[in-house]
């Protein structure tokens, strides 16, 4: 005989791959969201103990306090080189870097391009929040035209200060890059898409297909001088038109993966 019974099941809980530590991030900062997604993917793939993270310099410098894997901490911009060093001696480990836009698209441009060109079998999580969060909101390579920051106080003047860099598009021109996509963290749907992209990137690595990078559009309510909610709106209205969400390079071997 079969009885029908109502039982409560857990639909969501904090991933094991997140440490039980309170972050130092400002309320609403989507660095936390990105950490969580990485942790969820590590949980799902069961690779927490086989993963080595490379933290960069920026607000996420303490990522190693939050993501529950072995970690190293790189000089500003050099995470891809450090990750290369780790991966080359431990090729069966999953190695990922977690980098801000200042870190990866400004001071670290040389290293990221070289790692992508080498087809280095690592995964890069790239947080684009259009400014240098940690040092107090200076202009980043990703700062939008006209956007005010503490070092472009009258708004970014493209004639003098140059144009924003679309980093994943740039990286996608390299043959060594197998997966280069942009996602956003501004609403539930996009967050879910972001997680799938992170998962795909790690799957690329699992298959030895080479370099994968996921750009995540992110907010910095503190330096933008907004509430988290305003910041999400600003992201959607101003960032997405300039930084379209999409897949710029997808290796055929994973084109049809579904999660």
């Amino acid at each position: 005989m079969v009885m029908s019974d109502i039982q409560e099941e857990v639909v969501y809980q904090r991933p094991v791959s997140l440490e039980n530590t309170v972050t130092h991030y400002c309320p609403g900062c989507t660095h936390g969201t990105a950490h969580r997604l990485v942790a969820e993917v590590l949980d799902e793939m069961g690779i927490r103990e086989k993963t080595i993270g490379v933290a960069s310099v920026g607000c996420s410098v303490f990522a190693y306090n939050y993501i529950n894997t072995d970690f190293v901490q790189a000089p500003h911009g050099r995470a891809p080189a450090m990750a290369t060093g780790v991966k080359r001696v431990m090729p069966d480990r999953f190695v990922f870097t977690y980098q801000g836009d200042g870190d990866m698209a400004s001071i670290g441009m040389g290293e990221i391009v070289a790692a992508a060109a080498r087809g280095e079998n690592i995964t890069v999580i790239f947080i684009n929040n259009t400014n240098y969060g940690m040092t107090g909101g200076q202009m980043a390579p990703t700062t939008l035209p006209g956007q005010k920051t503490t070092s472009s106080p009258t708004g970014r003047d493209v004639e003098v200060q140059g144009y924003p860099v679309r980093a994943v598009e740039l990286l996608s021109t390299l043959d060594g890059a197998s997966y280069a996509v942009r996602r956003s963290l501004h609403d539930p749907k996009n967050i879910r898409m972001a997680k799938k992209a992170i998962r795909t990137a790690f799957e690329v690595q699992a298959r030895g297909l080479g370099f994968s990078v996921v750009e995540l559009l992110s907010i910095c309510p503190t330096n933008w001088g907004m509430t988290p909610d305003q910041a999400l709106n600003w992201l959607e209205q101003h960032m997405i038109p300039y930084y379209p969400i999409g897949d710029f390079k997808v290796h055929e071997a994973i084109a049809n993966l579904r999660f």
């Binding site: 130092h24 400002c26 309320p27 607000c59 969060g133 503190t222 330096n223």
Partner: protein, 182 residues
Amino acid sequence: MQTEIVIAGFGGQGVLFAGQLLAYAAMDSGMETTWIPSYGPEMRGGTANCTVIVADEEIGAPVVRNPQAVIAMNRPSLDKYEPLIKPGGVLVVNSSMVDRTPERDDIIVVTIPGNEIAEELGSRRLTNMVLLGGLLKALPVLPLEAIEKALAEHLPERHKKLLPQNYQALRAGANYEQEAFV
């Protein structure tokens, strides 16, 4: 001769600005002065404090182990600085945010419910001025007028309309009737 004043609290309590006012006032009164901040690691929140020195000669160290006076805006600041104050020095406590009474009996303790008074005057953001008023009453290193002049000159433009309230807060702190601890 020099006087060292520490103002300590959470980020956002106006600690750094209150210290700057002291420094401006000291400078305008023709004295030597230094103002030096120290923060915790957080971008937002966390601890913030500053040391202000007012002197009549070239100032050496901008920080000292045992300051002459301390404004403690919250409990952690009280716990940290109470033991360090020079004997005979002054401790101003924001009793609105502190749930214990100070223990030292070799210093002058001034206890002011800063938040309450500030809120009565129209904004919790005036708390720092209330306590600063209290300090200057107990430790007349500078006249209140000098602080008011500094306020008039350095209050950010967008807050200039609040100048009268700021004056009031200073006076309220200075005039607050309290039980004498010593």
